[in-house]
Amino acid sequence: MSLLSVDNLQVSFTTRNGTHQAVKGVSFTVEPKQITAIIGESGSGKSVSCYAMLGLIPMPPGKIDGGTAIFDGKDLLSLSEQELRAIRGRDIAMIFQDPMTCLNPYMTIGDQLIEPLLIHKNMNISAAKARAIELLEEVGIRSPASTFNSYPHEFSGGMRQRVMIAMALINEPKLLIADEPTTALDVTIQAQILKLIADLQKKHDIGVLFISHDLAVVADIADQIVVMEQGEVVERGEPETLFRTPSHPYTRKLLDAIPSGQRVSGQIAPDPLIRAHNVRTWFYPDGTDEPVKAVDGVSLDIHRGEVLGLVGESGSGKSTLGRSLLRLAPITEGEVMFDGTDVTGLKGSTLKTFRRRMQMIFQDPFASLNPRMTVYDTLAEPLLLHAICDRKSLDHHIAKLMDDVGLARGFIRKYPHEFSGGQRQRIAIGRALATKPEFIVADEPVSALDVTIQAQILELLQALGREYGLTMLFVSHDMAVIRHIADRIVVMYHGKLVEEGTAQEIFETPKQGYTQSLLASIPGTALGR
């Protein structure tokens, strides 16, 4: 018998713009002692389905229009809020994407851990504490006894996710729902957490429902995969058959969108456009004399026409390095030669001329566009500022930019919030290209995007790179993306470059231990990449 059996679930949301059917008759089952993964892009209804059956969506505007969700012989959809509450956290536990927002910052880890034991099991405090410490040890926390009295902010993201898992397991649930549990984590940490979830699932014999947008992540651990698109299940099956012979076009699209293969290098001139020498960018946080050495003595060359991939995990200083090269972060020491001129000391109008020649594309297209400027104004600003065209030919130039980045001209009067993430990133790319720059720093430009959109944007960047003859520093934590786009790769760790080489050298014969562990953490070996 299935542990959870969802049949024809329908959920809709009513807003002032009308009723939107988020889930249109979804059916799937979770078997005991198995990991079932639901895959889909944002808006596919994958999270809504799971949240709705646990009564965790706001109603109204949400409404369950029909269906059943049989768990343990009971239909979750017909239970009262009180009965559901007894099941949530005891028989069904959840872990979420962002462990920081799910932990109360004013309570110690231990107090939060034993709370469900005290509530659901009526244990006394010392027994609960012993059980909590035992679990913390099991999820791989090194000194569980001292961890018990620590606060959430004292831990890294990976450790917090371990605590969340311990918290989810403490009542010995039958079903664990994991909603994008590794999306916010670095790739090496992600690999550890995935392994932990798979191990614990076997050890405790629980069923796991794993929600993710990333096929590669679930490829290695799932027993069953359910693919969702626009509120419907389009395909389901075991990973091997699903990956080898995908039957639905959307599944194929998802698989194709996973960046793979290696870039065929174009013409790279021998002279460097950018030559950074011993760059240090140190920050002094308020009230301290101890500097944060975000970038600590980095030297690198970027040749004309080259795409240099900069890889590192969060906190490695890779973004700060990119910003330092563009004079967006204050350089403490060292020099950055741009086409033979040291740009570190430039000011005023000389700096402005160099700003025209180097641009940046940001990670979050929701934050990098002024919400109160239309696409037209956003694109017009750099064109007029650098007198690239006069007012008469402005419309013409903007239309050309819109065509270049693949946006319909009819969108010109819209505001950023009216666009999807991918479209916004196209606007941001258009803005960066407006000044006809020679050098672009792309800081994780596809990390915030769905996988199919990610593939489109990468393709666009490559095509535009050729057309505009761009030199690019491509910053990313995602090795697969880097491999797809970069000619040469540098690896950054704790503010320093630890390895440098062509894409082939880095991927096939990594020398440093850190690079090797990064490569080993790439998810999706089951995909045979």
């Binding site: 919400p371 109160r372 400027m373 419309d395």
Partner: protein, 300 residues
């Protein structure tokens, strides 16, 4: 001939694209669809027009007393009645509106321009400049503002224009604080960084990217400031520091009306009504403006 060609072509390319600042253009369109805001705006315009034309259209002379008449309830001759000295109340309210509206708008405009500029610079530049600028604000906050205004009056003599400036000079402090905290959070945003990387000057970044995004709370606070400034004027006038009879203002009329409200209630009701209608209109217009400028909240 060939010079004009790209222009023709490009107008065809982007036919529906507007030139110039489309945020304000769009805001105007959205505002004109908001019925409450439009009626608020019309009422305010009506008030201002009446205030401007008062010397020519007022039914009676505001200085002439007619003690025989005494306080009379509304009648056909005196639509809103007369005060204890037999002066026409409608005329008084019209003349009072000139002072009250002028105080409200001019003093708030002074406060708005100083406060927004001051706060934006302090918040955007940060560091030592911010510290010095905001300590100055703190010092002015700590200074009892009555003493400040009395001092001004003593030094420069009593003058209506000076009264406006003095009130404005006190009211900008809070505005500067609100603006500063808005700017501090906005300057961390990536679109500001993008603007820096485009090569925009700090002044242009503040004007084009920071201020438009900080306007919401500023507009709300402005609509709150105008009435409080009007009441402040009444208070100062009551103390003999502001307007002196026979000149009058709504604030003064209300405070006199309050003294005699048991015998002659209309002396309180009508000036109070004038002030209330103005404040309601201001609030509707302010809310409408805030919504109109928030492109994300548009209901289309």
């Amino acid at each position: 001939m060939s010079v004009s060609q790209p222009t023709n072509e490009s107008t065809a390319v982007l036919a529906d694209a507007e030139q110039g600042s489309s945020l304000w253009h769009d805001a105007w369109i959205r505002l004109s669809k908001n019925r409450m805001a439009v009626s608020g705006g019309i009422v305010l315009i009506f008030m201002v027009v009446v205030a401007l034309l008062t010397p020519w259209i007022a039914p009676y002379d505001y200085e002439v007393q007619n003690l025989d008449l005494g306080a009379q309830p509304p009648s056909l001759q005196h639509w809103l009645g007369t005060d204890v000295f037999g002066r026409d109340l409608l005329t008084q309210i019209m003349y009072g509106g000139r002072i009250s509206l002028a105080v409200g708008f001019i003093a708030t405009a002074v406060a708005l321009s100083i406060g927004v500029t001051w706060g934006a610079i302090a918040g955007y530049v940060g560091g030592r400049v911010d510290a010095v600028m905001m300590r100055l604000v703190d010092i002015l906050y700590a200074l009892p503002f009555m003493i400040f205004i009395v001092l001004l009056m003593v030094v420069f003599g009593r003058n209506v224009l000076l009264l406006f400036l003095a009130i404005g000079a006190v009211e900008w402090l809070t505005m500067a604080r609100i603006m500063r905290s808005q700017v501090q959070s906005l300057r961390q945003q990536e679109f500001v960084e993008a603007a820096i990387s485009l090569g925009l000057s700090p002044a242009a970044i503040i004007r084009r990217h920071v201020v438009p995004n900080a306007l919401g709370p500023i507009i709300v606070y402005t609509t709150l400031t105008i009435p409080s400034v009007m009441l402040l004027e009444a208070f100062l006038s009551f103390l003999g520091l502001g307007i002196q009879p026979p000149q009058t203002s709504w604030g003064l009329l209300i405070s006199y009306g309050a003294e005699t409200m048991e015998e002659y209630p209309w002396l309180l009701i009508f000036p109070g009504l004038a002030l209330t209608i103005t404040l309601f209109s201001l609030n509707f217009l302010g809310d409408g403006l805030r919504d109109a400028l928030d492109v994300r909240g548009s209901k289309d």
